[in-house]
């Protein structure tokens, strides 16, 4: 699967220098530089937030909160990683915190016990594969859903996902493997019809 719109999070040294200069300008109070920084990242951040929450107004709030945190904590950004990695890490944290606050998600399905419930739900909910798949993705536990959405839908690499979620690359791969397996299991009734 190719994702031409996806830019790499791990930047070359030259863009990293330009990035540091931009950060320095923002810290000096340059509002135009702040907007430049925002423009450079807002599209991907919004796409990711929307994919994870599914609501435009809520995604916009998450994006706003993410950038307010980014600007508020920019002085702490040491440049060890690409700015986009850090922005994504903040965004994922904001999204996760919002989900925790949202009572609708308090009773998330436990991954280990999800199979029988999810299989029935998928089979009975809708015969359409696409809709059933969407329901199955939503039912995935957060860490697996985030990894699946970032990799298989938004086209992030495992290196990028690992950096943004603060885990090893192998962990990211493992989570994707589990997520795909879970989805296959949930949608097994459709396979039989092939």
């Amino acid at each position: 699967m190719t994702h031409p719109e996806t830019s790499v999070l791990i930047l070359d040294p030259a863009p990293r220098r330009a990035e540091k200069a931009l950060v320095a300008r923002v810290l000096e109070g340059d509002r135009i530089a702040a907007r430049e920084l925002y423009d450079a990242h807002v599209s991907r951040v919004f796409r990711l937030a929307f994919r994870l929450c599914g609501d435009e107004a809520h995604a916009a709030e998450l994006v706003q909160e993410s950038f307010i945190r980014v600007f508020g904590q920019l002085a702490r950004f040491r440049g060890d990683s690409a700015l986009s990695t850090w922005v994504h890490r903040v965004t994922l944290s904001v999204v996760a915190n919002a989900r925790r606050r949202d009572k609708k998600h308090e009773r998330e399905i436990d991954f280990d016990s999800a199979d029988p419930i999810a299989d029935d739900a998928v089979r009975d909910a809708d015969p359409d594969l696409k809709e059933s798949l969407h329901a199955a993705i939503t039912a995935l536990p957060e860490i697996y859903r985030t990894t699946f959405v970032m990799h298989d839908i938004e086209g992030y690499t495992h290196t990028e996902i690992a950096a943004a979620t603060g885990v090893a690359v192998g962990t990211s791969k493992g989570r994707l493997f589990i997520a795909r397996g879970q989805l296959r299991k949930m949608l097994a009734p459709f396979r039989k019809e092939d």
């Binding site: 699967m1 509002r31 702040a34 907007r35 925002y38 423009d39 807002v42 599209s43 919004f46 796409r47 929307f50 994919r51 994870l52 929450c53 599914g54 435009e56 995604a59 916009a60 994006v63 706003q64 950038f67 307010i68 945190r69 600007f71 508020g72 904590q73 702490r76 890490r89 903040v90 944290s93 915190n97 594969l129 696409k130 798949l133 969407h134 993705i137 699946f148 959405v149 298989d152 839908i153 603060g166 795909r180 989805l183 296959r184 949608l187 459709f190 396979r191 092939d194």
Partner: protein, 222 residues
């Protein structure tokens, strides 16, 4: 047998391909309204960052904060001393809902010790000044601005993967809530606004837990 396996494998591949295709339409994002979001960010962040004149330059607030810190440290020190007489154990009570083991000095590993002291001390002082002020109306942009900065640090700590202690996270989440309320105080705040914040602090036992964290942090420096 081999043919069957190949046939199943092809079916699996086809199925996976169908899954990936269908997944692309999962929560398909619309075009974002970047200008509207930027306007909100400008209003909430840049408007709140005003030139600083330290609110704790006010000597009365400094005195109040020092007293609160002293009382907090004293209470915690008292609570940790073994009672020689069983009747003393009744007299010395820990603040409600305080799990002292949860607020050890390395509970904020994302900050070095002086930074952690500064953050905790400023948070205590700010909330204490709000308590001493609770009945008066005022127009305190500086307080809001400083609360915004402390809120930012609180969120930084919440975002830090090294802040793993659930009880410390609980305290930080409560501080986030209270500081967010302070940040949202209207320019012409009234006593009712402050009272609501104070209620939130009391319900969540914020000050005792915060003072315990301060005391532990100071004792760790010794």
């Amino acid at each position: 047998m081999q043919d069957d396996q190949n046939s199943n494998q092809i079916s699996d591949d086809k199925f996976d391909s169908l899954l990936r295709e269908a997944a692309r339409s999962y929560n398909e994002p619309p075009a974002p309204n970047v200008d509207r979001m930027w306007a909100a960010i400008e209003q909430q962040h840049f408007a709140a960052v005003a030139p600083r004149t330290q609110w704790y330059a006010n000597s009365w607030i400094r005195v109040a904060a020092a007293l609160l810190l002293g009382v907090g440290i004293g209470r915690v020190t008292l609570a940790t001393k073994p009672a020689s007489n069983p009747s003393e154990q009744v007299a010395v009570q820990q603040p409600a809902s305080v799990d002292r083991s949860s607020t050890q000095a390395d509970a904020l590993p994302a900050l070095n010790a002086p930074e952690a002291n500064k953050y905790l001390g400023e948070t205590v002082a700010l909330l204490a000044s709000l308590q001493s002020d609770r009945r008066s109306a005022g127009n305190d942009e500086q307080l809001v601005s400083d609360a915004a900065e402390l809120l930012s640090t609180t969120r930084f700590l919440l975002d830090a993967p090294t802040t793993s202690d659930p009880n410390v996270r609980g305290l930080l989440e409560d501080l986030e809530l209270v500081l967010a309320q302070v940040v949202q105080l209207p320019n012409k705040r009234n006593a009712r606004d402050v009272e609501l914040i104070h209620q939130a602090m009391e319900q969540r036992d914020v000050m005792p837990r915060l003072r315990t964290a301060v005391a532990n942090n100071y004792s760790a420096d010794d």
